[in-house]
């Protein structure tokens, strides 16, 4: 290890970006990103917030994951849907989720949605749009229900209903024509499901199933695969049989306790 004082550079290092640009100019085909061409939505109903998302993850023209989870946990009372590059949405929500937990330990209070909002938008702004994450953040805290959209460059909006992703126009068409204030829980869930289905069936980047998350004061319901409108149509009724099973020639079980002597000498077994 070098003994000189190392100046850790702060912020995003753009060196590799220059290298990548040079390589692209020379003709290197850059690897595709795993994008969640997506439909994500959120709406505020009378008692809280409902978030919805489809479950298709695409890598160019191929469906990489038929049933991925796009509604990410941020805090017990806050969830976040993510569209854009899958790694970016996953990493950024995980990061801010742990920051929120540390903050909860520090303050002894329930996290607020605006806290998550500010942490996310500062992070994304710092990376100047290179972190390709478009988020719909929703939750209920002491100040009431909140719903926000966050764009990759760091701008945010506070809205009664919001959609993001490639299927956002299809979903927004449903919201704009049918959203009212003061929806009940069931009406809200139905509207969210309808909007996601509109994205699933009218947008090529979205598909498979509908995930829904209902957040109210003190309670949350994560309805994974609330609706599965794309079941596998043709399944062989006979099932699949394999002619030759794997033969078991020998069974030998060695309990590990016999191999290691565990000696407890009083005090903490871990103290060493």
């Amino acid at each position: 290890m070098s003994t000189e004082a190392m100046d850790v550079p702060k912020g995003f290092s753009f060196d590799l970006c220059r290298r990548n640009e040079m390589l692209t100019k020379k003709g290197l085909k850059s690897p595709g990103y795993l994008k969640t061409g997506t439909t994500i939505v959120g709406l505020i109903f009378e008692n809280g917030v409902i978030l919805g998302a489809d479950t298709r993850a695409t890598e160019g023209p191929i469906v990489a994951d038929k049933n991925c989870e796009k509604i990410h946990y941020m805090a017990p009372n806050i969830y976040c849907c993510g569209a854009g590059t899958a790694a970016d949405t996953e990493a950024v929500t995980d990061n801010i989720s742990s920051q929120l937990k540390l903050h909860r330990y520090h303050t002894g209070r329930e996290s607020r949605v605006v806290t998550a909002l500010t942490l996310l938008k500062s992070h994304l702004f710092r990376y100047q749009g290179h972190v390709s994450a478009a988020l719909v953040l929703g939750g209920v805290d002491v100040t009431g229900p909140h719903l926000h959209t966050i764009y990759p460059h760091g701008s945010t909006d506070t809205l009664p209903y919001a959609t993001m992703g490639s299927g956002s126009l299809a979903a927004m068409a449903i919201f704009e024509s049918e959203y009212r204030e003061g929806l009940t829980r069931d009406e809200g869930v139905n509207l969210v499901t309808k909007a996601i289905c509109s994205g699933i069936f009218n947008d090529l980047g979205s598909g498979s199933n509908v995930d829904v998350c209902v957040i109210t004061k003190g309670k949350k319901e994560y309805l994974r695969n609330h609706l599965t409108p794309n079941p596998r149509t043709y399944i062989s009724s006979k099932g699949y049989t394999f002619s030759k099973k794997t033969e078991v020639l020998l069974t030998k079980i060695t309990p590990l306790k016999e191999l290691v002597n565990v000696v407890q000498v009083g005090g903490d077994a871990m103290e060493e």
Partner: protein, 242 residues
């Protein structure tokens, strides 16, 4: 766009510049649906010059002959040219004086050929057209794009209407819509476009064509709703936030 760059290198010199590269004055979406008695079509009356809404009384729905109705989005001057071609077509058809008249299917086919042949010469008419009509009790609704893509369907939309109106039409269109229901459905789609398309204006016309004939409504506006609590007070619970 990319193709025109290539062909300007391959083909002749600077002097040959009579090709359409980009549109100037454009109209936004047109939506058409079949209903019980015929065809309903809606379009707003805006003509945008880039990002300015320059003209607010552009009629983008026009009658063609006895049986058809055309709606156009895209370059307005190219639409006016298309209307002149159609005028000549209908005139020659009338001159035959044989009791027969061109129906919507024939006009649609003619438009497809015109658009496709212009595109092949790298000089497209920069429009997306919706052609609808009723002849001998048969309803017909079709669409042609500027590159010659054409098809016939129960409900069509151009431009932004493809993204915002078609999901609604796919959910809610039925074979036996009455006139009132059809108008309500079109207004629902147009309201959506008014909220979410930046080049939409709140002044629209709806045209109806049936076996009896064609009526294009007077221009009117849609009511919009802006009174959501989150719009009026977005920073409730977080004073000083934005």
């Amino acid at each position: 766009m990319v193709s025109s760059q290539n062909e300007s290198n391959l083909l002749s010199s600077e002097g040959d510049s009579q090709r359409t590269q980009y549109p100037y004055v454009t109209g936004t979406s047109v939506i058409g649906i079949k209903y019980k008695d015929g065809i309903l079509m809606a379009a707003d009356m805006g003509g945008s010059y880039g990002s300015t809404i320059r003209y607010k009384s552009v009629e983008r729905l026009k009658q063609v002959g006895k049986h058809s109705l055309i709606g156009a989005s895209g370059e307005i001057s190219d639409f006016q040219e298309i209307l002149r071609y159609l005028d000549e077509l209908i005139l020659h058809d009338n001159m035959w004086d044989d009791g027969n008249s061109l129906g919507p299917k024939e006009v649609h086919n003619y438009l497809t050929r015109v658009m496709y042949n212009r595109r092949n010469k790298f000089d497209p008419l920069w429009n997306s057209l919706v052609l609808g009509g009723v002849k001998n009790g048969q309803k017909y609704l079709g669409s042609v794009s500027m590159i010659g893509v054409h098809f016939e369907d129960d409900h069509v939309a151009t431009g932004f209407g493809n993204h915002l109106a078609r999901p609604i039409l796919r959910e809610e269109w039925r074979e036996d819509l009455t006139f009132e229901e059809g108008v309500k459905l079109l207004e629902k789609c147009m309201r959506n476009l008014l909220y979410r398309d930046r080049s939409a204006v709140n002044k629209m016309q709806i045209a109806k064509i049936t076996e009896e004939g064609l009526t294009i409504s007077e221009p009117y506006s849609l009511k919009t709703f802006w009174n959501f609590a989150a719009f009026k007070n977005p920073t409730v619970g977080a004073e000083g936030s934005w």
